[in-house]
């Protein structure tokens, strides 16, 4: 069974600094998608970034970028120039191509310090 691990239950970062959230996953599939979702106190799940496993280039979305290491099954999220609005729970998720299930990690709670 596929699993997703986020080894950092909580992290904090100073405003304007950079922080990296870790995610590892376990799968025997070769084709899949990986996601980072953000959940602010409003509870709404918001897509941050998405990566296709067949693409070697790391995805970026403005201040958010990933470091995708397929062989190591690692998918970390880097947030640059952190802002107070980045404070939230962040979930890493795995989705196999052709499958219907998303597998979520337990989440990392990020605090941004002014």
């Amino acid at each position: 069974a596929q699993t997703v691990t986020q080894s950092q239950p909580e992290m904090s970062v100073q405003e304007a600094e950079t922080v990296t959230l870790s995610c590892t996953y376990d799968t025997s599939e070769s084709d899949y998608y990986l996601f980072w979702y953000k959940q602010p106190p409003s509870r709404q799940m918001i897509l941050v970034i998405r990566q296709e496993a067949y693409k070697q280039q790391n995805a970026t979305e403005n201040r958010f970028s990933v470091n995708f290491q397929k062989a190591a099954k690692s998918f970390s999220l880097k947030i640059s120039d952190s802002q107070l609005g980045d404070a939230a729970m962040y979930f890493c998720a795995y989705h196999p191509t052709g499958g219907q299930n998303f597998v979520f990690g337990p989440g990392t709670r990020l605090s941004v310090l002014p």
Partner: protein
């Protein structure tokens, strides 16, 4: 946003009573999902639907049933609520399938006393 609403947003009920949660989408997405969110577990899949009247079980389906009679509506029923089903429930939709992103509703907080 994918135009997903959930009702009710909050509910308190008693053990043994049936409860139905509704998910409504306006995007004509084919796939719909129900998850529960509990501390330390992230989101876990309860049931999903890949079309009208087509549903399948997820990781934590015991004690839950679903129905999808229209593309836009996906109902989750707790046949006899238990305290272990106290959770936040999220509905999600997906347009085509595995290459697409899931979009989430705002969640329903359910408390079973």
């Amino acid at each position: 946003d994918a135009g997903i609403t959930q009702s009710p947003r909050h509910k308190v009920t008693e053990t043994g009573t049936p409860v139905t949660l509704r998910c409504h989408q306006t995007e004509n997405h084919r796939y719909m999902y129900w998850y529960r969110q509990d501390p330390g577990h992230g989101l876990r899949l309860i049931h999903y639907s890949y079309g009208v009247k087509d549903t399948d079980k997820g990781e934590v389906s015991d004690g839950y049933s679903v129905s999808r009679s229209k593309t836009e509506d996906f109902l989750l029923t707790l046949e006899s609520a238990t305290s272990s089903q106290t959770s936040v429930y999220f509905c999600a939709t997906q347009f085509r399938g595995s290459s697409d992103t899931q979009y989430f509703g705002p969640g329903t907080r359910l408390t079973v006393l």
